[in-house]
């Protein structure tokens, strides 16, 4: 809510104007001209001109944030011919540039604080809560809600219980098992949408047991995705087979997918030479042709999902042992590669650059050691696509090759639910997230503006 970039990416992957109200590209695709909004300001009141944006971009390129923004890596220079015009020069054509210009435009503030441009200004931060106040000079209008107080709860169940008690006005996320309660609650309104994160068991491709793509394909065939959607998301989700966003304009829905086929999985494992061990070899687990440990963040949602996958895999003689970890430890284990597999969710949308930094072989955000030349090639084609046709073809190649050489068992895209007190009338973007429009929410008739949580 505090931060905003030059552009935003819609649910379909198309760019939308933000601080830049329009843009154009040179015929060779190497120079992009952006026209900045004349009425946009930083939270300190200073105008957002081309010089400030250039400084912000240079600061991003000089930080680790560039690892998440491959589209920015091709920038060779930024020109500021006028305060409201910015020209970005590239060393090569890049289809990722717009995707990654969603990075926040900021300027340095006192201490290590960053001065941003969004509709709300963070006024205080403490372990208990974060307080935000409406930015009165926000270029899209002053938000109706004057102050937002963010509180964190140890579990999702705790948070919706607090919502039911009327202690909070807005619940960022409701778990699927509580969704029905909240949608039936008369004092609140629930808004569900498909979250652009894919849930999956990602393998550590460096481990020998996962080197053979047949093994990974076998595990994909062994998982009953519809049972997971029913058991975890209460039916509110769609199955996932690749780390690509199914609502992206370039997504190819005609490609074959993994069906739930344990027999085929066993055949693939047998073909890969992964056979059943004798019982005595594993006193702490069942007899298994393959045994590995899967870590996941400690929560009932992940736990239930892991148990369902575990049960599926056990049916083909694969023993997936589970380890629940606190979030910090979980992140550390991933960063250090200390895992066989990890159950997690990965952002895949809405931009095409997202798969790039997770799955490109040399990406610094590829901790699973996944390397497939054809996938790299598809990602490169995606990155340097000159037009929509090229993007569509590259997207298809990426989907296809990741089905052939899956880095993970991608399970599902789940719906998530935001819950709002009926004191408010949120603006609902079509198929999207009401959180993104919080600055446009109105108050229900007759209720004075105040703080919300």
């Amino acid at each position: 809510l505090s931060f905003e970039g030059l552009i935003a990416i819609g649910r379909d992957g198309r760019p939308q104007p933000r601080l830049a109200e329009s843009w154009s590209v040179s015929p060779d695709g190497l120079a992009w001209t952006f026209h900045l909004r004349p009425n946009a300001f930083f939270h300190d009141g200073s105008p957002i001109d081309s010089t400030a944006v250039k400084a912000s971009l240079e600061q991003t390129l000089g930080s680790s944030a560039r690892d998440f923004s491959p589209g920015l890596l091709d920038i060779i220079g930024v020109d500021t011919p006028s305060p409201d015009q910015l020209i970005i020069r590239l060393k090569t054509r890049s289809a990722f540039l717009l995707d990654d210009l969603v990075v926040s435009v900021t300027k340095p503030g006192p201490g290590k604080q960053l001065i941003a441009t969004g509709p709300y200004v963070t006024s205080s931060t403490s372990p208990a809560d974060v307080v935000m106040k409406a930015f009165p000079r926000y270029y899209r209008g002053v938000p109706t809600i004057e102050q937002i107080v963010w509180k964190s709860y140890p579990t999702a169940r705790t948070s919706w219980a607090a919502m039911m008690r009327g202690e909070i006005d807005f619940l960022y996320e409701v778990t699927p098992d509580a969704r029905d309660f909240m949608t039936g609650e008369a004092s609140v309104e629930a808004f569900s949408f498909l979250r652009n994160y894919v849930h999956g068991v990602v393998f550590n491709s460096r481990r020998p047991m996962f080197k053979d793509a047949r093994v990974r394909r076998a595990l994909n065939y062994a998982v009953d995705r519809s049972a997971i959607i029913d058991g975890v998301f209460k039916g509110h989700g769609v199955p996932a087979y690749t780390p690509t966003w199914p609502q992206h304009w370039a997504y190819d829905t005609s490609l074959p997918t993994y069906s739930y086929d344990p027999g085929r999985a066993i055949a693939l494992l047998n073909a890969a030479g992964v056979t059943l061990n004798s019982p005595s070899s594993a006193p702490k687990g069942p007899p298994a042709r393959l045994r590995f440990k899967c870590i996941f963040p400690a929560s009932l949602l992940w736990e239930r999902m892991s148990l369902l996958v575990q049960r599926n895999l056990s049916q083909i003689g694969v023993d997936m042992q589970l380890e629940s970890l606190p979030l910090d430890e979980f992140n550390r284990r991933i960063a250090t590669g200390d895992f066989d597999a990890v159950l997690m969710d990965l952002i895949v949308g809405n931009a095409t650059s997202r798969p790039y930094f997770f799955w490109y072989s040399t990406s610094r955000q590829n901790p699973w050691g996944y390397h497939d030349d054809m996938v790299d090639q598809a990602l490169d084609h995606l990155r340097y696509a000159a037009n929509d046709d090229a993007t569509r073809a590259a997207f298809r190649d990426l989907q296809s090759q990741m089905l052939n050489d899956p880095p993970a068992v991608f399970l599902a895209f789940g719906e998530t639910t935001r819950v709002v007190s009926k004191r408010f009338q949120p603006t609902t973007p079509p198929g999207g997230d009401i959180f993104r429009t919080i600055s446009e929410w109105q108050l229900a008739g007759g209720i004075p503006a105040g703080s919300t949580n």
């Binding site: 140890p154 579990t155 169940r157 705790t158 219980a161 607090a162 039911m164 008690r165 009327g166 098992d177 509580a178 029905d180 309660f181 039936g184 609650e185 008369a186 004092s187 058991g231 006193p283 702490k284 687990g285 069942p286 996941f296 400690a298 009932l300 736990e303 239930r304 892991s306 148990l307 369902l308 575990q310 049960r311 056990s314 589970l322 380890e323 629940s324």
Partner: protein, 583 residues
């Protein structure tokens, strides 16, 4: 007339309206009572069934755990095997949030949770059989109600550990949410200590999360007072509305299942039926009244017609007839009335004819009597005068006789003329004493001839009236003559004048034979007489003259003792001097 109308109204009321009202009142009462009883009974059945289902839900969960426990007992499974079984159970039965196996020392052996268990072995609670305990409802880390079931495990008859399952009460909420009565009726579940553990009303579900305690709820108190055995019902206010609440005990757990519904909705059907019945009864009442009114009018109309006809006939309109259209007894009555009226006309005509004949006969007889004597006297005198014409004395006698009889004939003719065309009076102030004295003096000779004493008693003061001295003389003469004629020789006739304030009375009293009472009323009519002879015009003429002088005349009589005629005239307002001058 009013009595008949009133009676008809009372008849309609008694025969139709009152029974209809009574029927309506009884029906409404019975309907309300019956419908309310039915609604309460229905809601109680819902509450009982909900209690059974919730009991079954808990019982089933306990049995699932018991089944699991039996799978784990005496099977010498490896911990990993037990672990997988527990995990599969939780996946298969979402009613459990967690199932954990503890050994006899309380150490965790296996759990559906990945990692350390978060449930404890229940130390106290509701026993389910010998080795099963359900903990009281408690608030968990998320401030939501929860309960734990613990099953003691045996190995070769020795306690070997516990199987503990945390029941997902939120799953029970789904069950409670499905219990709906009407649009606004819902169920709620209250634990033994009063904790609200499920609420079916979406507006009130937050109360579970708030940890509301309903031990003061009237239904909870009522069912506890009755020993948690039988369903109860009552009405109570909540949130500004009146609710119909029923409660059924879930005895095995000590819980109470409440089903409550806004009273207006619960009895909506009863209210609608009552309103419809009221409308029907009112409509029937109006219809009955309308029918009664129309029927009553048709019933009374012939009576009105008969009354009108009777009154008209009574007033002498003998040609009046009644018209009755109906074909019932009233028609017969009307026809009889018309026939009677026809007959009455005939009889009246006959009577009048006979009266005329009788009067004519009486007049003829009177005239013969009154005229024959003087005519005979004149005739005899005329025959005699021829023979004794030379007798001068007789000629004088003849002259007197002829004059007298001629006077008599003239009086008779005057009377007849007076009846046909009354002579006008000329009124002047006169002293009544003087006028009476003149007549008395003039008739004293006639009285003495009849052997009657004629006396006069005068008022000591002059009494002046506006009168006609000649007309009054005729009046006095008529009455004194009648009195003398009605009195036997030796009797007395007294004429008295007296003043009574502004009135003057003249009384003529005789000691004669008197007049029978039945004839007194008609003696002043024309041609009515108590005498054996005469036209009977004297008293009629007398009364007419008295009334022309603004006076009155009355008679009192007693047979054998005599008769008194009393005339009363108003005193003249003129001065006495004028009256005196006039006299």
């Amino acid at each position: 007339l009013k009595h008949i109308t009133s009676r008809i109204v009372l008849l309609v009321a008694a025969a139709a309206i009152l029974p209809l009202l009574a029927y309506g009142a009884v029906s409404i009462y019975s309907l309300r009572r019956g419908t309310q009883t039915s609604v309460i009974s229905g809601n109680i059945n819902v509450a009982k069934r909900a209690a059974q289902e919730i009991g079954l839900y808990i019982n089933t969960n306990v049995k699932i755990l018991q089944t699991l426990a039996s799978d784990l007992e005496d099977t010498n499974l490896q911990p990993w095997q037990q672990d997988r079984i527990l995990k599969n159970y939780v996946l298969q039965f979402p009613e459990f949030r967690e199932i954990t196996l503890y050994d006899a020392t309380g150490a965790q052996v296996a759990s559906s949770r990945v990692g350390a268990s978060k449930v404890q072995i229940p130390q106290k609670g509701t026993p389910f059989g010998t080795d099963v305990t359900m903990s009281p409802i408690a608030v968990d880390d998320d401030l939501l109600p929860t309960s734990v079931v613990g099953i003691r495990l045996l190995n070769a008859g020795q306690a070997s550990g516990w199987l503990v399952g945390q029941i997902n009460l939120e799953e029970m909420w789904h069950m409670v949410d499905l219990i709906r009565i009407g649009q606004q009726g819902f169920a709620l579940v209250v634990a033994s200590e009063g904790q609200l553990i499920a609420h079916g009303d979406p507006n009130e579900k937050a109360r579970v999360a708030r940890g509301d305690n309903l031990k003061d709820n009237p239904l909870v108190q009522l069912i506890h007072r009755q020993g948690d055995k039988e369903p109860v019902s009552t009405e109570f206010p909540e949130g500004g509305r009146q609710f119909l609440g029923v409660a059924a005990p879930l005895s095995i757990l000590g819980w109470t299942v409440i089903v409550q519904q806004p009273r207006a909705e619960a009895f909506q059907v009863a209210d609608q039926l009552q309103q419809q019945l009221i409308v029907v009864v009112v409509f029937a009442l109006l219809f009955t009244i309308a029918v009664g009114y129309v029927w009553g009018r048709s019933f009374v109309r012939p009576i009105f017609e008969l009354i009108r006809g009777t009154a008209a006939v009574g007033e002498g309109h003998l040609d009046e007839r009644v018209t009755i259209e109906s074909k019932d007894e009233f028609k017969q009555l009307g026809d009889s009335f018309n026939s009677m009226a026809d007959k009455l006309v005939e009889l009246t005509d006959d009577v009048r004819k006979k009266e005329r004949q009788a009067m004519f006969g009486r007049m003829a007889a009177g005239l013969v009597h009154d005229l024959s004597h003087p005519v005979q006297n004149i005739g005899n005198s005329c025959k005699l005068i021829v023979r004794v014409f030379d007798d001068p004395e007789y000629r004088q006698t003849f002259t007197r006789t002829i004059d007298r009889e001629i006077d008599t004939l003239k009086r008779v003719l005057d009377d007849l003329r007076n009846v046909a065309r009354p002579a006008a009076v000329e009124r002047f102030p006169l002293d009544i004493n003087r006028s009476v004295a003149d007549i008395v003096e003039s008739m004293r000779g006639f009285a003495e001839e009849s052997g009657i004493a004629l006396d006069a008693k005068f008022s000591p003061e002059p009494v002046i009236i506006e009168g006609d001295v000649f007309a009054l003389g005729r009046v006095y003469r008529n009455l004194i003559t009648n009195a003398i004629q009605a009195t036997e020789s030796g009797g007395r006739v007294t004429v008295t004048t007296l003043r009574d304030r502004d009135k003057v009375e003249v009384r003529i009293t005789d000691t004669g034979s008197g007049i029978p009472p039945e004839r007194l009323a008609a003696i002043f009519d024309d041609f009515v007489t108590t005498k054996k002879r005469g036209l009977g015009l004297g008293l009629a003429i007398t009364r007419r003259i008295v009334e022309q002088l603004e006076g009155t005349i009355a008679v009192t009589s007693e047979v054998g003792k005599g008769t008194t005629f009393t005339m009363c005239f108003p005193m003249a307002l003129r001065p006495v001097a004028v009256a005196a001058a006039a006299g």
